[in-house]
């Protein structure tokens, strides 16, 4: 070793241990664990990860985005209920559907803009149409939906105003008659348009989450759209049960029942397909609690809607439960994704597993790590 004047100042060398740790611990889940003894120059470390740091970054999205998942969903479901109400002559349902569709889309859009790093540049979303970006596709879906739903709501607002002034005479009278005629012409296409863009609006948010490197979101891409559209229907049915008199809430009650079943089934399938590791964030922690609450509220709300929906109070309570269930689903899935991005084990272990599986099957030419 070197000898220099400062050697005397060095701390005494500690004897090195020859055998280190139990290799079987090397598979530790969180990796990067260190022994406490600071004087050891090389601590016993298991390096399945780099100091336990995440590999993929969690989306820098706040609760606004989770709220948008709910708001976009309830807007879409309500537009469908409103269109159905218009078609079947249920005015209260139609009115509620149109109002909630616009309110949900507007609030949702505002939430999205607020979550941007540069809200002042929100309109840059309209710079281009990009099919590889679900967010670009979604921006256009939301815009189209908002346009039609807004038009339908305008028609809803204009009609009683025109009818009130229907008795006017002279040129004002002919103008009002013409306007009423025009309204009769544009109202159906507006309604159809909002109903046409409603399912894409409810479904694309699942693609939005799935088209990321966030493990639990990405790997759930086959079932997540079904969970989300069911949740959207549930929320809209819930809103209708709260706001529409029981004489007109029949469709909402049916929708609640159907959507509850389909959501529970889709969610179970999703957990199954994800496997024990990647579904862990959905079952544990804050997300686990939210999703458990969601299931209880879904079952309770749907049962209440079906059995006691003719009672105004019971219908409203069931409806509130269903909306709460949808909120819990959205925030739960959102949170679970964040958890899965932050802990490197959700990134590393499934990737190693699929790599090993491919290698075992004799596919050795598609690995990012190569020996030559």
């Amino acid at each position: 070793m070197t000898t220099n004047p400062f050697d005397a100042d060095r701390p005494p060398e500690l004897p090195r241990r020859k055998k280190r740790g139990d290799p079987s611990q090397a598979g530790g889940q969180n990796g990067g664990r260190r022994r406490r003894d600071e004087s050891m120059m090389v601590p016993d470390v298991t390096f399945d990860s780099y100091y336990g740091r995440h590999i993929v970054k969690p989306a820098p999205w706040e609760k606004e985005v989770a709220a948008y998942l709910f708001l976009g969903g309830i807007a879409a479901g309500s537009a469908l209920l409103g269109a159905g109400g218009a078609a079947r002559g249920l005015p209260a349902l139609r009115r509620m559907g149109r109002i909630v569709a616009v309110a949900g889309a507007a609030l949702g859009g505002a939430a999205l803009a607020k979550d941007l790093g540069r809200p002042s540049r929100a309109l840059n979303m309209m710079r281009t149409v990009k099919l590889t970006s679900p967010m670009s596709v979604g921006s256009w879906i939301l815009t189209a939906f908002g346009t039609f739903a807004g038009g339908a709501l305008a028609s809803e607002v204009a009609r009683p105003m025109l009818e009130k002034r229907g008795g006017a005479s002279g040129s004002a009278g002919t103008a009002i008659t013409l306007a009423t005629k025009a309204l009769n012409v544009v109202d159906p296409p507006l309604t159809v348009g909002s109903a046409f863009f409603a399912p894409p609006l409810a479904a694309y948010t699942a693609v939005l989450l799935a088209d990321t490197a966030t493990p639990t979101w990405h790997e759930s891409y086959r079932e997540l759209p079904f969970v989300f559209v069911s949740s959207a229907n549930l929320a809209a049915a819930g809103m209708a049960l709260v706001t529409v008199p029981s004489s007109q809430n029949g469709p909402a009650r049916k929708l609640a029942a159907v959507s509850a079943v389909s959501e529970l089934v889709a969610f179970e399938r999703m957990q199954d397909k994800l496997g024990p590791l990647l579904s862990e964030p959905l079952r544990t922690g804050k997300a686990g609690r939210l999703l458990k609450a969601s299931r209880a509220l879904t079952v309770g709300g749907a049962l209440g809607a079906v059995t006691l929906g003719h009672n105004r109070v019971a219908a409203a309570l069931s409806g509130a439960a269903l909306m709460a269930a949808s909120v819990c689903t959205r925030f739960g899935v959102f949170e679970a994704g964040m958890v899965s991005a932050i802990d490197p084990k959700y990134t590393v272990e499934p990737q190693r597993e699929r790599l090993e599986k491919r290698r075992a099957a004799g596919i050795v030419d598609d690995s990012i790590t190569t020996a030559r």
């Binding site: 879409a76 840059n124 399912p199 049915a237 389909s262 790599l355 290698r359 050795v364 990012i368």
Partner: protein
Amino acid sequence: MGFWRNQLSGPTNPAADAAWDRHEPRKGFFTDTSICIGCKACEVACKEWNGVPEDGLDLLNQSYDNTGALGASTWRHVAFVEQSSDRIQQARESGRKLVSLGMPTVRSGDEPALAGGGNGGGGTATATLTAPGEVRQGAAAGPGPTDTALPDVRWLMASDVCKHCTHAACLDVCPTGSLFRTEFGTVVVQDDVCNGCGYCVAACPFGVIERRRGDEGHEKGHQSHGITIKGAGTETGAGGDTGRHANPPSYASSNGEVKNVGIAQKCTLCYDRLGAGQTPACAQACPTTSIKFGDLDELHATARARVAELHELGYPEARLYGVDERDGVGGTGSTFLLLDEPEVYGLPPDPKVTTADLPDMFKKAGLAGLTMLAMAAASFVGRRK
């Protein structure tokens, strides 16, 4: 149809796919971590040239790594990993397994080749490898299952950077078109277009790109070192932190403002320098030529020659990362020579560009949409008033 194949995955020429009519050879990095000395000159040069703000002055208790990870204000990150002999043994075994995949060549024995390995057993070896001649006698020692001359300690250092993937998820998912493919096949953010939606952050399979916060520290982002940052929330960091970090960085004293707050940022492979025929700042600054810059074809050849040389010298743990264009991201523009499994360095072991599954995702979403429509329609069927 030929054009559409391999637009989302598989081997392709990204610059040609992006419709560049200028034909530049694809540029990239080859970071040979076996000769990295952990000086962090690349980090500094990158910050200097690109005007990247300081993002935290903390001791992270991660060996000599006080930078943490790649991010909005860290475009080069030197990883430090300290390993003991049994971990090195594992690395060698995994490397040997990798070599034996596909081709039954390469000797099974590994040799006492690390610089300090034969040095009385107590020598501390770094990952810096010695010249070929010095270890030849070791290479001739023939096969031996577990070698006794493993060093007690080794220190891995690796300068990480944006991979400039062939199929870049960040670019694919960017809704504004802010991220674009350059004529050199690299991926660059236009900071005057980005609106900070953050989608690229979640999409990157390597966790490279990030939205700049302006008040960022390492862990919670609330350590702003006594700087008042305009346009970055209320965080002033005027508390106890001021005492600890007494000298604010120069940009703060000049105008107190961090540029591009709220905007996604990452390595540009020094697009401005490339345009002028220059080498990127990090590669230019690297004193050991660990970071090599050049045409990707040539870098691949260099990388393959280097890993073969290391195997020959008795380092079965040496392996390449990102060289194969059939991998999940279609090969990367930044390639690496690693001495252990990628996850040890904080790299994903089998990354896959998320948009490879996008057609299937949209199909599933379409089905789900129809299901939604059907459910709604069904609930209006039947007589009920």
